[in-house]
């Protein structure tokens, strides 16, 4: 047994979970899929007096689509999202990003909410929800609030959630119209954390110019980040290849990615710009050649 001792709680409702969170606040951690938390416990990088297991809270599982939004229960397994045809139809970017998370065995246990709440800057889902303009539904014994993704991630492994709050659902808007999406990342081995990556979404107007665009970068800072300057440079234009090269450079211009044993900061910048160029090309082509997305 490698983790330090802890008290184990297995509530079956969100209400009971929030009660336990209120009671134990800063001495506890919620256990979702465990694919990041359990290694950290095993290596004793962290320890908690109480673990609150969410795996028996049925109301946190499942997917639904209504009013232009895909809602994903926080405990929905990554593998379930990967397999769901509704996700592929409603949010192709999410469907394309999920297979990059770890390996099959990891995604069988790993959850959508767990990955987002863990907020690793090199993980895929924060960049996807940030790019698509998602909202995170957070509950505590005191009530529920919805936080836009751009205000949710505060730093490495840090979100705006208080100790007594629980991520209960992820709301992802369905992009309708002439849209295209691409997800690209570079990792040393399949399933490793990405050195750099990008989640790209574009929507074209009737004249073929860019009406809406989102670029969510991962591995390029202490949180997932939007490349807003590059996005602004694309709006209203029908960019050709040389302009896309410039936009790709612009997307990483203000960034200072980490320097570590896996890659230097300069290398991450080069890879990041290259991936943005690649993803934009794919997303623009898909939007340009695709049919109007069914709504």
């Amino acid at each position: 047994m490698k983790p330090a001792p802890f008290e184990y709680h297995a509530p079956s409702t969100v209400a009971d979970t929030l009660g336990l969170l209120a009671e134990h606040a800063d001495e506890c951690k919620v256990l979702a899929g465990g694919q990041s938390l359990v290694p950290m416990l095993a290596l004793r990088l962290t320890r908690f007096e109480h673990l609150i297991d969410l795996n028996r809270v049925d109301e946190l599982f499942g997917l639904s689509r209504a009013n232009g939004t895909l809602t994903i229960g926080a405990m929905t397994r990554q593998r379930a999202v990967e397999r769901d045809p509704m996700v592929a139809a409603a949010t192709p970017l999410l469907a394309r990003a999920v297979p990059f998370i770890g390996h099959t065995q990891i995604r069988n246990r790993g959850t959508i909410g767990g990955s987002i709440a863990h907020a690793d800057p090199a993980s895929e889902l924060p960049a996807v929800v940030l790019a698509l303009g998602g909202e995170l539904e957070v509950a505590s014994a005191g009530g529920t609030r919805r936080v836009p993704a751009e205000g949710f991630f505060e730093g490495m492994w840090t979100t705006c959630m208080r100790d007594d709050e629980l991520l209960v659902a992820v709301h992802v808007p369905v992009w309708e119209g002439r849209c295209g999406f691409a997800f690209a990342e570079v990792a040393r081995r399949s399933g490793d954390f990405a050195l750099a990556g990008v989640a790209a979404a574009v929507e074209l107007g009737n004249d073929g110019s860019v009406q809406r665009v989102a670029l969510g970068l991962l591995g390029m800072g202490s949180t997932a980040v939007r490349a807003t300057a590059a996005e602004d440079a694309l709006i209203g234009r029908a960019p050709a290849a040389p302009e896309l090269d410039e936009v790709a450079q612009l997307s990483v211009a203000d960034l200072d990615p980490p320097d570590d044993i896996h890659a230097t900061s300069a290398y991450r910048l080069r890879v990041g710009a290259h991936l943005v160029r690649q993803a934009l090309g794919i997303a623009l082509e898909e939007a340009g050649t695709g049919q109007e997305r069914e709504t």
Partner: protein, 158 residues
């Protein structure tokens, strides 16, 4: 610290035990159930040697606590071969294609490949490589393992 009474279906039999909350499923299987076919390599979710089937799906038993498996169905490598001691088709293919050398990683590969083929009986080479990417082997160089999966899926092996 808390202790919990659990009841887990392991390879078709009900196993009851009293476990400390921090006891991993892998330790429960190896030490309380004496099923030492499930191997522990890294114990933090990287190597895949401890892969078991949890309700039919491949999962790392070092990243779960035994208490979480209460009421669930677990199959280990011991549960994949018939009772008469013969090998499963996947095990037979690993033997035929030299899909192992020292054998330490093999239980995890066998369980992973069994789940892969149950979901996708005719994987392409790319799907095979992706499917076993969560298991590490330090001996074979993987080619024998890939050939074994090809053979187990009924394909000709070059």
């Amino acid at each position: 610290m808390s202790e919990h009474a659990i009841s887990v279906t392991v390879n078709g039999s009900t196993r009851r035990g009293r476990v400390e909350a921090r006891r991993t499923l892998a330790d429960f299987l190896r030490e309380d159930c004496a099923l030492t076919g499930t191997h522990l390599g890294c114990e933090h979710g990287v190597c895949g040697a401890c892969t078991v089937l949890l309700d039919g799906e491949a999962a790392r038993s070092c990243l779960m606590f035994a208490v979480q498996a209460d009421g669930r169905d677990v199959v280990t490598v011991e549960g994949l071969s018939p009772d008469d001691g013969t090998l499963s088709p996947v095990q037979e293919a690993f033997r035929a294609e030299h899909g192992l050398q020292c054998g330490f990683c093999t239980p995890g590969f066998i369980v992973t490949v069994t789940a892969l083929l149950a979901e996708n009986p005719e994987p392409s080479d790319a799907e095979i490589r992706e499917g076993i990417s969560g298991n590490l082997c330090r001996c074979t160089g993987y080619q024998g393992i890939i050939n074994a999966v090809r053979r187990a899926s009924g394909r000709a092996v070059s």
